[in-house]
Symmetry: C2
Subunit: 141 residues, 2 copies
DNA sequence: TATTGTTATACTCTATAACTATA
DNA sequence: TATAGTTATAGAGTATAACAATA
């Protein structure tokens, strides 16, 4: 991996830029990024806790507490699963689904704003390059 | 900003990829990302608290506490500035400078690993595009 | 009075270990 | 005994408001 000096820093700057924008957009929906990604993941259907933890890349205790906080707000609901009663299935409430879909669309529409300074054809090239990196489409897809 | 559906998600995946790698590299130096960026910023000389907060993009109380934690470990030192005694100048200790330079070089050398899956010429194009985004070279430069 | 930085307080996120309940 | 999930505990990060010291 040979690259110009300072490129590590440039990558950190890019990540920070994306995340600051993400925080802004999520805040407009009264969500933190973690809460947003949870609701986005649940927006098309229920999931087991273990699967969610893997999808979101977090440990199970962290997920339990994230769910606690957002369940209090009535956006998700835990239900014991029937065949194996150890399993907890998490589903978004109707309001949770509505918010999840809204924030997902908003992120999709407005997060690319971070690239405004690039010419349209450069934005397109950038999108193609990033999409070619494996395992990049993580949480909500 | 017109882009293919799901591109917002792709950008979030890219940011997450970069940050996971950053966390790994920092951890090998026994630092969190925030601590690392502080030491990297101080690696070439002292700074005032207010300037540091602006450079790192955090509020002053957050910086005070970050400094508290890393000062305990003997990596930075606070000194009252003379002309205006309200001002606190923060400087890295010799060990802090050593660690700051080491982690900076390591990040620069190894963070670009996240692009290994791209062909070398695509990595080069990617680097050029990212470097063209304004305000991207933030904290430690 | 305005400014620099700190303290106080609270919340979110995360990690590890110990625990409960099912299987 | 193994697994799914939770609770307990701790630490890092961040935000806001109130405060101290200095200008």
């Amino acid at each position: 991996m040979t690259s110009q000096p300072g490129f590590g820093d440039t990558l950190l700057g890019l990540a920070a830029l994306i995340q600051r924008r993400h925080i802004q957009i999520c805040a407009e929906h009264d969500l933190t990024p973690a809460q947003s990604q949870l609701l986005c993941t649940l927006r098309e259907g229920p999931r087991r806790m273990a699967d969610l933890a893997a999808i979101l890349g977090m440990a199970k205790p962290a997920l339990s507490q994230l769910v606690d906080r957002i369940e209090t707000r009535g956006l998700v609901r835990r239900t014991a699963s029937e065949p194996d009663r150890r399993v907890v299935t998490l589903e978004a409430t109707p309001e949770g689904i509505k918010i999840g879909r809204a924030v997902y669309e908003d992120v999709d529409a407005r997060l690319p704003d971070v690239l405004v300074a690039l010419a349209p054809e450069d934005q397109q090239r950038f999108a193609e390059l990033v999409s070619a990196i494996p395992h990049i489409r993580c949480p909500s897809t």
